[in-house]
């Protein structure tokens, strides 16, 4: 008997007797002898619950989390406050432990949550239909590519360089199998270059991809970009930051066919990158090519309202090699957090939170731009994130500045040079509602000192 098993000696005797074997080993006799391990696998001994807790806590203590420093890191995942109610709901066995609602009669809770989630996502994006979640942002974008491919069978994708670098790469990886070419359109003053965009799109293009706001925090003119693509018969995919959609126009109003995105900022923890959820919404004409689970409304034998998984003939368990996606286990629990978060914010809260971010971000942008050695990378409107460049020596210089700030308990943001060589000494700064004016002022002070120190050292050694 190990930690979570329950076979006592008495049980074992009865069970072997009932089965009609002498030993457990006999049950494994279908495994060829040569393949049966004749040793214990090489792992440490098991531990008591308290010991495992202590070990995992010690590992946690080796990380500097957003609980430990004043962090302005964003770049795709954001340190928004997760209301305590969400922890409670996600911790309820009834939501935490069941699987996909294959038996709707005893899964009305999960199914209704999906239905509510779909409604909320449609409201946010302004599109007709939503599924019940996909893995996360970048693979959601790749899934939109696959939908486009299934729709128009064309062979080329055009993607704005303003899309998150992970998403661009995921699209490349996952579309390589079915043989797509992926062309990137550069940015100018922080947004997708409209001329290069128009030039890149022709009738061979299956889909175009634009981020809103883009990776540099800039608000794109999605409507204009979409217009060009639609004219040439390409599907328009927008990857949107859902928490900006109380402020920014709904993609569905701007000619977008599919709106996807990363859901982490909606009530999900940072979790070093996952699990979170991706959302996937589209115009209704695409519904039968959508990936993943979709909940729908129906009635029971007594005429009571109820919910079921529906349109399953799209899915792998029914259609197998003809399925519109291979996804099976998705991110139901994270999507639950998402819809609860949106309801917690509520209609007005979404807007108020957006306005708070816009104002504080504008303030932070001004304050940082006022520092010696800091310059804006672009002048576009932003919601909660903006890009500056530091007057230091490329990525390494930025990293040294970040180290100095970390020593003072401040994390100024994401070093853009990691993924954008063209902004080698760039810094991407995110302002969530958890970063107060005092925090921003502290950032300015600490960053200012760190920059001065870095330039002193570099000056001295030069």
């Amino acid at each position: 008997m190990s930690r979570y098993t329950a076979v006592t000696e008495a049980d074992l005797a009865v069970m072997l007797e009932t089965i009609g074997v002498e030993s457990i080993e006999e049950l494994f006799s279908s495994i060829p002898a040569a393949l049966r391990l004749d040793r214990e696998i090489d792992l440490p001994d098991g531990l008591s619950e308290g010991e495992v807790y202590a070990h995992l806590r010690d590992l946690a203590a080796k990380n500097v989390s957003a609980e430990d420093e004043v962090s302005f890191l964003g770049a795709g995942m954001y340190d928004h406050y997760v209301p305590a109610m969400i922890d409670m709901l996600l911790g309820r066995s009834e939501f935490l432990t069941p699987y996909t609602p294959y038996q709707p009669e005893v899964s009305q809770g999960g199914l209704q949550v999906m239905f509510e989630f779909q409604t909320a996502i449609c409201e946010l994006t302004g599109l007709d239909v939503s599924n019940a979640s996909v893995y996360e942002g970048p693979s959601a974008l790749a899934a939109a590519g696959y939908l486009a491919k299934l729709t128009n069978k064309r062979g080329r994708f055009v993607i704005s360089r303003g899309i998150h670098p992970h998403a661009r790469e995921t699209l490349r990886t996952l579309s390589a199998g079915y043989g797509m070419t992926v062309d990137e359109v550069p940015l100018v003053d922080g947004v997708t270059d409209p001329e290069a965009w128009a030039a890149a799109i022709d009738e061979t293009v299956s889909a175009v991809f634009v981020g809103q706001p883009n990776f540099l925090g800039a608000v794109e003119d999605v409507g204009a970009l979409a217009g060009v693509a639609r004219e040439r018969g390409a599907l328009v995919v927008c990857s949107a930051d859902p928490l900006t959609l109380g402020i920014l126009e709904a993609p569905g109003e701007l000619g977008v066919d599919v709106c996807v995105g990363e859901g982490q900022s909606l009530g999900n923890r940072l979790d070093f990158g996952g699990p979170s959820f991706g959302f996937f919404s589209a115009r209704s004409e695409h519904v039968r090519r959508m990936p993943g689970r979709i909940a729908g409304e129906t009635v029971d034998a007594d005429g009571r309202r109820g919910f079921v998984l529906t349109l399953q003939t799209r899915e792998q368990h029914i259609r197998r090699e003809k399925a519109t996606s291979n996804i099976c286990t998705a991110q139901a629990l994270n999507a639950l957090a998402g819809v609860v978060y949106l309801c917690w914010l509520g209609r007005r809260g979404l807007v108020e939170l957006g306005e708070l971010m816009v104002q504080r971000t504008a303030y932070a942008r001004d304050v940082l731009a006022g520092l010696d050695g800091v310059e804006a990378i672009h002048s576009q409107p932003v919601v909660r994130e903006f890009a500056v460049s530091l007057d230091v020596d490329g990525l390494d210089g930025v990293l040294r500045v970040l180290d100095r700030c970390a020593a003072e308990g401040v994390n100024p943001g994401y070093p853009l040079g990691r993924t954008y060589p063209e902004y080698g000494n760039g810094l991407l700064v995110a302002i969530t509602e958890q970063r107060s004016r005092a925090d921003i002022d502290r950032l300015a002070a600490v960053l200012g000192r760190a920059l001065a120190a870095e330039r002193d050292v570099v000056g001295a050694t030069a």
Partner: protein, 531 residues
Amino acid sequence: MSSGNGAVVATGAGVQGGGSTETAMQRARAETIFAKGAPGRRAFVAPAMDVPVRPLDELIPARLRRAREPRLPEISEPELVRHYVNLSRRNFDLDSGFYPLGSCTMKHNPRLHERVAGLPGHARLHPFQEPARAQGALELMWNLERALSEIAGLPHVSLQPSAGSHGELAGVLLTRAYHDARGEQRTKVLTPDTAHGTNPATVTMAGYDVVKVGIDANGGVDIEDLRAKADTDVACLMLTNPSTLGLFDENIEEIARIVHDVGATLYYDGANLNAVMGKSRPGDMGFDIVHFNLHKTFTQPHGGGGPGSGPIAVSDRVEPFLPHPVITRSQVGDGEAVFDLDHDRPESIGRLRGFQGNYGCFVRSYAYICSLGAAGLRDVSEVAVLNANYLLAKLGELGVLDLLTPAYGRVAGAEEDAKRQWGCMHEFVLSGAPMKRELKIKTLDLAKRLLDHGVHPPTVYFPLVVEEALLIEPTETETRETLDRFAESIAEILREAREDPEIARGAPYSTPVRRLDEGAAAKRPVLREAL
């Protein structure tokens, strides 16, 4: 007072001296959150606006701004909590009863895992935190990779894939990269008829053609058919072993030989790894690529359909193509080990998703491995197999197997009168065909009637190769009493159906809703609340 009927008050009519005792509350129609609240209500209170406020038009031009607010609910915090607490009570879950959903490994989810995953040092760690300040996370991932590698018997691991099918896609793309690097253009991937739907779906998404391989009388891969189809156009064979029939393919060595002989890779769908941990290793069987389902074998809670996590382990020849970043460990002398993320992987297939994978799941599964250790993991598989065989035998004892017959799994060389005629690994498949014929109830009816017995039904109508299939996986965390009670429930339902099949056909009766009309839902899809 809520339309999401609570736990304590059951839905449905009772009778008292002729009159119905049903109340309005019990009759109420399910209402979504969008039907609740009132304009002006709120749960969220924003932090104070502590910076100088500038006109919004100055910051974001009106034409980029939203014209019409999203119509999210307006609801107070107490209302919101009640809505979702009440909804939760309309779910069946693993913490309230037996959940022998075959192929899904619904094992106990220890709460320790939720606690450690919730530590702020893990839960509030930003994925772009500089590796020097995320050493604990990287060390954890490294340790988990090493443990999974040892369990699989394959040297290299990537934790990146988000679930099993994502791991499959990674695996097939790795196969493609492997062949590409050798200058070969292969076009086909083999999958047996017992394969899970994600296997063929993955093959298509990765740009290959699916070629189906038959199964033999024992449910294993039909060796002759395999031989016939294994040519140099074949890139890969995807296999689940034990298969989705719950049977270990005894010809696995021969299968591996055939596949490798034509230069193809052998892919192991690890959904059934719970049967063989510490007993036998896919790497030793000859597999090149394995995916794990942390949400099955390593007890990441299923969450109502995710999150999951689908790490892959691979052989040396596949390693160069692994998704990046990969975790590295370096140590100078006996100084502290330093962990880092290596993005500089020129042959990598690239990323499959953002960041480093579902770290929160890694924390849980790593805690599980720490708790159990080597002997504990072996015990898991031993008891998983013991429990399945016991349940099968118990059903036999109760005479159930005449109506629900094992389709495959006859014990090799069992004497005619041997007690043990049928065997399995950690799960087994029964066919409801005789039941349907004789009692006029379908597997679906049996499943729905089981709901009234307070258990979640097994997987039904999968695998496809078995008519009226019932795929039963009890897992190792269940007690003998629970298995006995389940067997008795099945026997009871069959007895009852013999007397009155209408009862099962009308089931369930005691659930929040009765049988739902899935056809209507698909015919006229209503996929969101109309506002």
